[in-house]
């Protein structure tokens, strides 16, 4: 019987897990341990609901409700001196809880502090764009849409950015296989030659190590050379290997180690 693979997460799994092993945690510290972060958090929680806040690896993480995202980032930009949105993306938690987690990585140059704002949305839910506040969100939100299929409200140019416009599926979801899905394997054939050429060309194989032993049309033969397109399904002829160089190559003298000059010290 074939081993069962869960359909909601096709990512690679470790083949061995120790059932007594308990994963350690990266330490989370109280926000009150840092005066600057504590003041920022106070300003945020005065206006918005803060679900959780802690400091991890010197950066404050604030978890908020998804509908507050624009307001919180606007507050951080205008009153708390966080002047750059360095990164924005999502994490796929669909298999575990049916949600996406979105994080905004912010930087304050005057305070030399970094804060991560996080919120969760449902699979079909959309989120407000922060492009009005930071232009950098224009491209990161497009990338997020491209990779996860999270729709952004009020975005000026909601289009795929890395994948082709007519692509199907969202590559960074855990349900998307690493080697591409059915659509991906036919995409280039359909696009360039048309669906009717599918039988002639066959699906694109994304295994980089694959070599078809009997395909003498597209691959150089390893070992015995045969003419292009020869049928070798019944075995291949025994061709002795002949090296062109055995008699010396035309125009090239034999290398004489005695006569050569070795430059040992280069002038750098």
């Amino acid at each position: 019987m074939r081993a069962y693979t869960p359909k909601d997460n096709v990512q690679k799994k470790p083949y061995y897990t120790d059932r007594y092993w308990v994963a350690p945690q990266v330490a989370k510290h109280e926000v009150s341990s840092d005066a600057v972060f504590a003041r920022d958090l106070e300003a945020i929680s005065a206006k918005f609901t803060v679900l959780e806040a802690y400091i991890q690896v010197d950066q404050m993480v604030v978890i908020i409700n998804a509908e507050d995202n624009f307001g919180v980032i606007e507050l951080m930009k205008n009153s708390l001196e966080y002047n750059q949105l360095s990164e924005l993306s999502a994490i796929d938690w669909l298999a575990a809880e049916g949600k996406f987690e979105i994080f905004y990585q912010m930087l304050s140059m005057s305070k030399r502090k970094r804060v991560r704002i996080k919120c969760k949305i449902d699979e079909k839910e959309s989120i407000q764009s922060v492009e009005k506040l930071f232009r950098s969100a224009d491209w990161s939100e497009r990338e997020m849409y491209d990779m996860f299929g999270i729709v952004i409200n009020n975005h000026p140019f909601m289009k795929r950015i890395l994948m082709p416009d007519d692509w199907e599926g969202f590559p960074l979801r855990k349900t998307y296989p690493l080697q591409g899905d059915e659509f991906a394997s036919w995409y280039e054939v359909d696009k360039i030659f048309g669906k009717e050429a599918r039988e002639i060309i066959g699906p694109e194989n994304r295994d980089p190590a694959r070599v078809d032993r009997y395909d003498t049309e597209r691959f150089a033969r390893l070992g015995h050379e045969v003419p292009r397109g020869a049928d070798i399904s019944q075995g291949e002829p025994d061709t002795p290997l002949v090296y062109q160089e055995s008699e010396g190559v035309f125009l090239i003298e034999k290398f004489d180690a005695e006569k050569s000059v070795v430059i040992s010290d280069r002038d750098r």
Partner: protein
């Protein structure tokens, strides 16, 4: 097999017969000055650009997806393929992020070697930038000069790790090798000669009329625009923001070395050019100090953390338990604690950040690569309108984008 009607070019939402006399020009993706696979859709009124749409994704390999399906050490060679002009800085950013996740401290000699690698990579990247940008603008001599110097550095790196372009010269927890005997004297020889070389480039370019016309007051980025677009590195410092992660949030030994951060408030191409030249001088200043630090460090190169890092080769070959641990770490991979980190480093292009979300597995649950060039390409949308066609080439040149990094 191929039908002639199928391979018709495909233009998205573009019509060519427009009433307003606007022309649409496709710049790239095969343009030699597009620094890789950049396609720009430019709306033009005569020679002037009214609208620009950068189109990226031609080099998209899905590195973030690959990372989710690899053990941590396995992903290291993939990071080489991001900014392949200075690959050690990518390796380093990833190694540092994982070390912060684990909470690991690296031996001092490894730190010194990493500093040398990072700064030689910065020099290589800046020399490459100078060479290609000068070539785009037509200065062939500078191209040859700068490539000559870069070649020496590539030879040095080759002496260290055996590779010239994709180094993988940093490991999680340290570095794999000690410096070869010739490394320090050779690097010193190179550094002694570098000021002359930089002076040569500047003599050729600084007051060159053509260079000035193509660079001065072209591609001006205001401070607000640079901040809003998430610019970093030289792109940000040329626009008047003094922000260098090496200085402000020091990692490795940057708090022990003395260097200054060149800043300009002009924001144009010429300012960025001057900053690249100044940064090369600063890099060589850092390298001189780091060369002196090497002497007197203990020989250990990898951190001691048997749960995450394989023991030294001697232990593996002589002690059974070390061999078992090594076997598990190679076949199953290390399992960092549950948690998340975002670690920024100052790569030659700007802020290179790694966001890692670990769920205690051998594979990262989510890894986001924050590559500076992505936003430096995005800013072209707002930067190009109002400029003319020849300016596009010099602006793309000074943004210093690398497509391995933009598309990942």
């Amino acid at each position: 097999m191929q039908q002639s009607n199928r391979l018709r070019p495909f233009f998205e939402n573009i019509t060519f017969d427009r009433a307003d006399n606007e022309m649409i020009l496709n710049f790239g993706p095969q343009h030699p000055s597009a620094h890789g696979q950049l396609r720009l859709m430019l709306h033009m009124q005569q020679e002037q650009i009214t609208k620009a749409h950068p189109d990226i994704g031609y080099l998209h390999r899905g590195m973030e997806k690959m990372a989710e399906n690899m053990i941590y050490n396995e992903f290291m060679p993939t990071t080489d393929r991001m900014d392949y002009i200075a690959s050690s800085s990518n390796n380093y950013g990833f190694a540092l992020a994982v070390e912060k996740l684990i909470g690991l401290d690296v031996p001092r000699r490894a730190k010194v070697i990493r500093m040398m690698l990072l700064e030689t990579n910065r020099l290589m990247s800046h020399l490459f930038w100078l060479a290609t940008t000068a070539l785009d603008i037509g200065a062939m001599t500078v191209f040859l000069f700068a490539f000559r110097e870069r070649e020496y550095l590539m030879d040095l790196i080759e002496d260290y790790c055996g590779a010239r372009l994709t180094h993988s010269a940093v490991r999680i927890g340290g570095v794999p090798l000690d410096l070869p005997d010739n490394f320090i004297p050779d690097l010193r020889k190179f550094l002694d000669k570098l000021p002359e070389n930089i002076k040569d480039y500047e003599d050729l370019l600084d007051s060159n009329r053509i260079w000035l016309m193509r660079m001065e007051n072209v591609g001006v980025i205001s401070t607000e625009m640079a901040l809003s677009w998430g610019c970093s590195g030289v792109m940000l410092r040329a626009s008047g923001v003094e922000w260098d992660i090496r200085k402000e949030e020091p990692y490795e030994l940057y708090d022990e070395v003395e260097f200054s951060v060149p800043v300009s408030d002009k924001g144009d191409n010429y300012a960025r050019y001057k900053l690249y030249m100044a940064e090369m001088r600063e890099s060589s200043k850092i390298l001189y100090q780091v060369l002196d630090m090497y002497e007197g460090t203990q020989p250990a190169l990898m951190a001691h953390a048997p749960q995450y890092i394989s023991a030294p080769k001697l232990d593996i070959m002589t002690q059974n338990y070390s061999l078992m641990q090594h076997f598990v770490l190679v076949t199953q991979g290390m399992r960092p604690p549950v948690g998340e980190v975002y670690i920024p480093t100052e790569s030659p292009k700007g802020e290179l950040g790694y966001y890692i979300n670990s769920q205690g597995d051998a594979y990262p649950y989510r890894l986001k690569l924050r590559a500076p060039s992505f936003w430096h390409t995005g800013i072209l949308t707002d930067l190009l309108p109002g400029h003319y066609i020849p300016d596009v080439v010099s602006i793309i040149g000074t943004t210093n984008i690398v497509f391995g990094e933009v598309d990942r």
